[in-house]
Symmetry: C2
Subunit: 169 residues, 2 copies
């Protein structure tokens, strides 16, 4: 009657980041075919005070990396947010995939009850159990950014479909 | 080391549909304050072949209802997709919330291994275990539509934030 915290996190992030890689590959092919400035997509936003595509991809990969690491009880690798191209975004996602796939299901053994503190020491500090951290916080934020990245590209006429977003599982 | 299928589904759908209700309430208030035609938002799309806001909300609530029902092994209530106003969308979400909250955690007891078949009898038929159905299919689709509904409203200048999207948990 239950699903392991590992199964509900790492394979889901892997699936969706794979989908995002496919979506970004189609976006890059679209840029090449139409001879566009890649920044016309990388810096596209749905509204002036929303993150552009490039930042949505960075944050989506950050949630995958950070949530998986905290649930496994390890320190997430630091990423410097220096990406400026589609190729660099692909490399970032690939590095996050390598990291999360290096985690072993056994590291998630006590993850459901482990206390996880976000924004520790700030007025926004929040304490979770591992299972709440994943279900009520990590997944909603992760999917928010993968979907918004997709939405930005769809809005700009890149021919991607929900199948691309969903990825392979 | 695991989370129950109930905990990973019903409370998550409840949280996010509550968030969506708040987002839609702000959209309706925006319509009133700016004296807009409500259909300017309800029929807004991010691209011509994407669903408009109204349909995104219908589909998001359908995923919550359908996924929870299948995991609980019950027939989901039929909804007729006749909504045309913000008030009707709110009523639809409320009815889905009432339905999913009527499900008992015990009904999800064998959900992780129960076989779930989507689009049965069609060329797109797919067979899942309950846990894969939730993690690899149900949640990605559900979050896709809640996020896209939010994105349509953000794109149209409704003052909502990620906190509204995330809801209360």
């Amino acid at each position: 009657m239950s699903v392991s915290i590992y199964t509900a996190s790492v394979p889901v992030f892997t699936q969706m980041l794979g989908g995002l890689q496919g979506v970004l590959a189609k976006a890059e092919a679209h840029v090449a075919a139409k001879k566009l400035d890649p920044n016309a997509l990388l810096q596209a936003r749905l509204y002036p005070d929303m993150f552009p595509l490039l930042r949505q991809v960075q944050v989506a990969s950050d949630f995958a990396k950070g949530v998986a690491a905290r649930l496994a009880g390890v320190e997430p690798p630091k990423l410097d947010d220096t990406e400026q191209t589609f190729a660099e975004l692909q490399a970032r996602i690939a590095s996050v995939l390598t990291f999360i796939q290096s985690l072993d299901a056994a590291q998630f053994a006590d993850a459901d009850t482990r206390e996880i503190v976000t924004q520790a020491g700030t007025p926004k500090e929040k304490r979770f159990t591992g299972s709440s951290y994943l279900c009520n916080y990590g997944l909603p934020h992760f999917f928010f950014h993968t979907t918004t990245a997709y939405a930005i590209l769809r809005h700009n006429g890149v021919e991607v479909g929900k199948k691309d977003y969903i990825g392979t599982y």
